[in-house]
């Protein structure tokens, strides 16, 4: 079993860095590559849902099913691009765009009432009734000057989340 990290050349690393707007350092990319190979147990070049779910800490996450749909079939470059929103070097705009993408399940650039409700359902499960969830969301939307029928776009998200001090940072272990 050879040392897999040696298969990444400087050229590869730079290409990946370009793809993720230099949000990760070269060492971090090597680390991520080792992790990617470790998770891709079948060596197929992508990490299957089953392989992701073998991480217990991921499997218990309320949003894991939704994230799996985004992670499905990503190759290494796309995997790094996915994670780049969590880099301390990523801009706030990048992070909020990522959150927006999680909401916008049909990728039409609009987040509707039902999109938000879907996420809220994942996050609260059986502990809030469907009816109560809708009431809560309607009320909160109206208090912020939106209605049940308004579709939020990315600039709305920027306005709402832009100054909330969102801390979405994950440190890549480098040895």
């Amino acid at each position: 079993m050879g040392n897999t990290s040696s298969m990444l050349t400087q050229y590869d690393i730079e290409e990946v860095q370009e793809r993720c707007n230099h949000t990760f350092s070269q060492q971090e990319i090597v680390s991520l590559y080792q992790r990617f190979c470790q998770l891709d147990r079948n060596g197929r070049g992508f990490i299957s849902s089953d392989e992701f779910l073998s991480i217990p800490e991921f499997a218990v996450n309320p949003l894991s099913q939704r994230l799996l749909r985004m992670l499905n079939g990503l190759n290494f470059k796309e995997f790094v691009a996915f994670l780049s929103a969590f880099s301390p070097r990523a801009t706030l705009q990048h992070k909020i765009e990522f959150i927006f993408k999680v909401y916008d399940s049909d990728c039409n650039g609009k987040v509707t009432f039902s999109d938000i409700l879907d996420i809220l359902r994942d996050l609260t499960g059986q502990f809030i009734s469907e009816q109560q969830r809708e009431q809560v969301l309607t009320r909160v939307l109206e208090e912020s000057g939106y209605t049940k029928d308004s579709a939020l776009n990315i600039s709305d998200f920027m306005k709402i989340l832009g100054n909330s001090g969102t801390r979405m940072e994950v440190e890549v272990p480098v040895d």
């Binding site: 996050l123 502990f127 709402i160």
Partner: protein, 376 residues
């Protein structure tokens, strides 16, 4: 003293014998929500970054996968004058040491079988003598195994005594743990039933040691094992050895101990095993290699170096639950062997965590939303 504290629990606890609560190990209400206060606003609902961060953190690195990561040996041969030396080493290891070791092992087996079979069949009437001889022979063949990888084992602390009402628990790195401990004491062990030649040995020779086999996936087996465990602890005269982690861990971490061994109401004697990785990684990664391959890897290495500590026997304290007791013993073993503790059940290698854990997170979020909705 032990008999007063932990008399057997009713059988209802047997069904969850192998399912300790992860909540009992994790700090309460893990980091997902830091009790935000004040009126609920839209941004509080939309900001899902804490949950996303947790998910991404787990993808990048997680404590569970770390427990089962084999450490590849540090290459030291890429140098013009080290390389020839390394080549010499390879020649010695594969073409001198390995054949000699195979020879030693074969010799061991010949001696073992040629005495074990007559003892087993001819001494049918003299049970005590037969048992004694059989145990001696099993210890002997284990010594041959240890010799076949030039095991350099340092035993610390008093040798285990042969008396009833005690169980030995050890951390688990590879099946060779069992061989290393067995060469000193004829333990009866509880193990997963294996296939192939290991399974054959299990069902023939080791059976006579009072060893107990089970199938991890059979829930019916659990009850049978729990019953056999009790019978053995009370009746038999050789001590019982249990690997409460239930799976092999890479000797850097310990996963949760199953509480089965800790609710028998008898003394628990911790055994800590630490391997020195200088020549070979003794972790058996059963996903990557068969046990035969693992043994071959050990037999072609320079030596297997390890330390074994027999630690002070522990009894359940009054007011202590079996899980707390198990945790205390895990602390003792982890501290002695220098292992880090993780809050995961090793069986998660074969199954998914129960939805209970996710529901716990959902509940805390739901409660915080509802509470803040009330606030003005």
């Amino acid at each position: 003293m032990s008999s007063t504290t932990g008399r057997f629990r009713p059988s209802s606890s047997e069904s969850d014998l192998d399912r300790p609560n992860i909540e009992d190990y994790l700090p309460s209400g893990s980091s997902i929500q830091q009790e935000p206060r004040g009126k609920l606003r839209l941004r509080d609902l939309l900001d899902i970054s804490p949950t996303l961060t947790e998910a991404a953190g787990a993808i990048v690195d997680d404590s569970f996968t770390r427990c089962f990561k084999s450490n590849s040996p540090e290459p030291w041969n890429w140098n013009i004058y080290l390389f020839p030396l390394w080549c010499c080493g390879v020649v010695i290891r594969y073409f001198i040491l390995f054949p000699v070791r195979v020879l030693v092992l074969t010799l061991g087996w010949i001696i073992f079988l040629s005495s074990y079979i007559p003892v087993h069949f001819l001494l049918k009437g003299h049970d005590r003598l037969r048992k004694k001889l059989e145990r001696f022979l099993v210890e002997l063949i284990c010594s041959f195994f240890v010799a076949s990888w030039t095991g350099v084992v340092k035993y610390h602390g008093p040798r285990p005594s042969m008396r009833p009402n005690q169980v030995f628990v050890a951390n688990h790195t590879s099946m060779i743990d069992f061989i290393i401990l067995e060469q000193m004491t004829a333990f009866a062990v509880i193990m997963q039933k294996h296939a192939g030649w290991v399974g054959l040995l299990q069902s023939t020779i080791l059976e006579s040691m009072g060893c107990i086999w089970f199938n991890r996936t059979e829930s019916k087996d659990r009850e049978i094992v729990a019953r056999k465990l009790r019978e053995h602890v009370q009746g038999a005269d050789n001590p019982l050895l249990i690997f409460p982690e239930g799976t092999c861990v890479n000797n850097h971490y310990t996963v949760m101990f199953k509480k089965g061994a800790f609710e028998l109401g008898c003394s628990v004697c911790p055994v800590a095993i630490k391997y020195n990785k200088i020549f070979v990684d003794a972790f058996w990664n059963s996903r990557k290699q068969s046990f035969t391959k693992h043994l071959l890897q050990l037999m072609t290495s320079w030596a297997v170096v390890c330390d074994v500590w027999y630690l002070e026997p522990q009894n359940m304290r009054s007011g202590e639950t079996p899980i707390e007791f198990a945790e205390r013993v895990r602390d003792i073993i982890s501290a002695r062997a220098g292992l880090k503790k993780v809050p995961w059940d090793g069986y998660l290698k074969h199954s998914r965590p129960s939805p209970k854990h996710r529901e716990r997170k959902q509940q805390s979020f739901a409660e915080s939303v509802l509470r803040r909705l009330e606030e003005k």
